[in-house]
């Protein structure tokens, strides 16, 4: 085949150019650590990397929400623990009230103590979270859920409450996993307001406390049937306290179950995070060993092209004329 002189030069430049382009690209990959510099390098991997990165971010968001849910549920759990302690203390005092040896004065002293515990219970029921929102007011986060109704004791129950509920039945929820919205509050109504008494009427825990205080304050002489009726009333109070305690423990069990669920969700989400990161890395990161070896090979190629070009371009018949 005939070769023109211009072609010799052009070809050499073209080939050296190509080698240099490859080297530039390799150098770029090595310095960024990315195999895929632009989507054209691997369109499928680029799109997948975008979608996987979103999945990773969404998963991170779930982890964050789980943390948030844990804080809120732990706060509810701590408060309910306080409520449990108060009920247990009051129950002990109620048992003491049944001691026939006590005089009116001593029962009054117990009544004063119980009033303290009542105040403590109202305070616990009106507990607020870090944002200043009430834990037990449902969606009405800014509304103080429990306030004294100002009714006279006749005795207290749902139609004649000692404390009224101003919150609502809303349950605040967080997205803790793609398909799981978890309630992070419990309804104040459910915890404190619905203790069905023996006559088929609901009393609140507050009503139970106040009715007990009423029993403690009442002078022994004023009971119409004497000790029997006092004992009957006290027994009712005690059984209502037990119902109240059971109810709080039932709610705490729900909260505890959610906290346990959060723990397992967190384990899964943490594992997923690692997997997503690995997947993204597989999709777009560079295999350094391969890249460095490619770089060396290309380097040798370019040097050979340069050297041979210099040799060939020096050959000319005119040198001998």
């Amino acid at each position: 085949m005939r070769v023109s002189t211009a072609q010799i030069f052009e070809n050499a430049t073209l080939n050296m150019n190509r080698n240099q382009t490859d080297l530039f690209r390799l150098q770029n990959q090595i310095s960024t650590g990315r195999r895929v510099l632009a989507p054209e390098d691997d369109p499928v991997a680029s799109a997948q990397a975008l979608v996987t990165t979103q999945s990773q971010q969404v998963n991170k968001q779930f982890l964050e929400n789980q943390g948030n849910a844990k804080v809120q549920l732990t706060m509810a759990e701590t408060t309910l623990d306080g409520v449990t302690n108060v009920i247990q203390y009051v129950r002990e005092r109620a048992v003491q009230l049944g001691n026939g040896a006590l005089g009116d004065d001593q029962r009054l002293a117990i009544a004063t103590d119980l009033q303290q515990k009542f105040d403590e219970l109202v305070a616990l029921a009106n507990a607020q979270n870090g944002e200043g929102l009430y834990l037990f007011s449902g969606f009405k986060g800014g509304t103080r859920p429990f306030s004294l109704a100002g009714n006279a004791a006749t005795p207290y129950n749902v139609t004649n409450p000692s404390v009224s509920f101003n919150g609502d039945g809303g349950e605040r929820v967080l997205q803790v996993e793609a398909s799981r919205q978890m309630g992070v509050t419990v309804s104040g109504d459910d915890v404190f307001m619905r203790l069905r008494n023996d006559s088929g009427v609901n009393e609140s825990l507050f009503d139970v406390f106040q009715n007990l205080i009423g029993i403690a304050q009442r002078p022994a002489a004023s009971w119409p049937g004497g000790g029997a009726e006092f004992g009957q009333n006290l027994a009712t109070s005690l059984s209502q306290l037990d119902r109240g305690l059971d109810n709080v423990l039932r709610v705490r069990a729900t909260v505890g179950a959610r906290l346990a669920e959060l723990d397992s969700l967190e384990t899964v989400a943490t594992d997923l995070d690692v997997q997503f990161a690995e997947r993204v890395s597989n999709l777009q990161d560079l295999d350094y060993a391969q890249a460095i070896s490619d770089l060396t090979r290309k380097q040798v190629q370019l040097q050979a092209a340069q050297r041979s070009f210099v040799t060939i371009s020096g050959l000319s018949l005119f040198n001998f004329l």
């Binding site: 085949m1 002189t5 072609q7 989507p39 369109p43 799109a47 971010q57 986060g141 005119f318």
Partner: protein, 722 residues
Amino acid sequence: MSFMSIGVTALNAAQLGLLTTEHNIANASTVGYNRQRVGQSANTPLATGSGFVGQGTQVDSIRRVYNEFIASQVNQSQTTTSELGAYYDQVTLIDNMLADPNAGLSPALQDFFRGVQTVAASPASAPARQALVSSAEALVTRFQSIDNRLSELYESVDGQVASTVGGINSLATQIAEINQRIVVAEAAIAQPSNDLRDQRDQLVAELNTLVRVSTVSESDGSLSVFIGNGQQLVIGTRANSLVAIPSYADPERMTVGLTNGNTTQQIPEAIITGGSLAGLLRFRSESLDQATNALGQISASIALTFNAQHDLGQDLLGNVGAANIADFFAVSSPKVISHQLNQGNGEITATFVSPPPMRLNDGAFSLSFNTATGTYTVNQLASGGGTWNGNDLSALMDTVETATGQRLDMSEGNFFTQLTGSDYRLTFAGGANYTLTRLSDNTSFGPADLATLNSQIGASEGFTLSAPAGTPQLNDSFLIQPTREFARNIDVNTLITSDPRRIATALPVLAEAPSTNLGSGRIAFESLVPGAVPPATGSPVSFTFDAAAVPPGFTVTGAAGSSIAVTTNSTTTVFASTATIPYTPDALITVNGMSFRFSGAPQQGDRFLLSANVNGIADGRNALALGQLQTQQTMEGATTSFQSAYGQLVSDVGNKTREVRVTRDAQQKLLEQAQAAREAQSGVNLDEEAANLLKFQQAYQAAARIMDVGNRLFDELLSIAR
């Protein structure tokens, strides 16, 4: 005497050989130069009694070594390579931008939904709301800035088209001039004018880098040049000119016209092939339009679905209902452009379907609500699926179940758009009828009047049309670009930015049971749909349990005139609000567009309420629903998510870029091969020319020796005579 004359012919031939060799050496590096060769033949011999006596040599012609076939191969390869090169140079700009980890859409999109989640967790928190507003502003800014860069590419294509057209005109004029010189020169001496032809061929080659041309050699030596499918660019010594003119269909983009005398005709872009001109035009109509539309499609889908879900909520100020809730995103309408050559003065406007439909039953059905008429429409999304209308949602649910055997599951659904990334052409077909063509695949709708057309495209294309004014003439057309400028115009509503309390994070309905209930019955709220009528403050919808009824159920107050749908595991049944609703635990009950469930063991007289969510500042249920849009099937007829659609765009552009690069590289190889073939035949090899130099030098010396010998012989004769 013949001694001398033969010597002279030899001397002449050797001299021309030397001159031609020198010319070749001088032009060894001239672009487009073809080496020249001396065509030499023996003179007619003299017939004598002793036989034919040779009369020396003559030079017939100096010809260039030129192969028309190879030259045209070079041109063909060159024009395709240039087209792909121009395409690649442009599309790689989009490619690099879209997947840039910092400049692409993904980070902004993720930050935005992160902001939504934060508000869902702390709906009452002013800083969380402000952070959402900021991340929403960052998202729309990102849309705008990507769109800006795409707009710059449109402008750059316009500019390059104009300058390419200028280049083509200049080359055409030069070719016409050289045609003139060749015709004159060759007519005078009847020999090919090699160097002028080289120059002209080089101009044609350069022209091919700008646009593909075809040529026809005329008998007078001139060359006619055509573009497209036969449009005359150069005829003999006359050149027509191309102009960059605004497109008739879309005056905002420059396209190419051909001026012939006083008339200018727009050349359809599809017939312009090859060269950087076609590369630019193809890039614009394939990749740039697609990327811009897809970006608009994503932004429109985000804005429309987000606004629709937002409208269902309740803001921190207690506002409720689509009319009172501020739109979250401010959105623009689809762009409509009247064709420049329209005869009539008809106007067309297009409107997005808003609220967009809801996806139900994992995408088997969609539920649309027409705000103006209060009509619900259920579509079965499978192809050939039915359509059912009605103003009473609960009754409609029953109708759909009767027709399809499938129960509509109202407990979960999400908004989605039917928007496509295509442009559309609407053509007036006479009477009141129009034909709409989806330009991406030439699917057509109609001819039909706009109302009929709207019922069709509203459900399948995500927008509707109206003709507010004017009278169109037959075949008048309109270009409709639903998503082209959406990303440019999207913004966060100023009502939201100026008062983040207007972000509707809560739902307007609360399901609850009063403290007086004795049983363990519970009510759980599930969802509400557009057009739902949430209870007003103080007027709840109340359900009272009647244990004595057969079967036991609920009597309803506060929902007079509304029908109530009860969906159990097996069937949907519709009840009047005066009926006793039988209690089936966990059945989904739908009334006035609100759905909820009863569970547990209610007791006689227990009441359950759907009431207004008064002071529900800690309620983040609507924010949660907004946050879920991130991963739901919200686009392309409920088949893909925002992020997947964006991933699809990145992958489409990446694939296109890759495809263009690979074809360009292959084409480049073909071009190099064709060029090598051309160089092998026509290129100058200096070693070869050095050898020729020696050859002709020796021939010249030999011819001179002939003269010398002749001279001596003559001298001999003279000396004899002396």
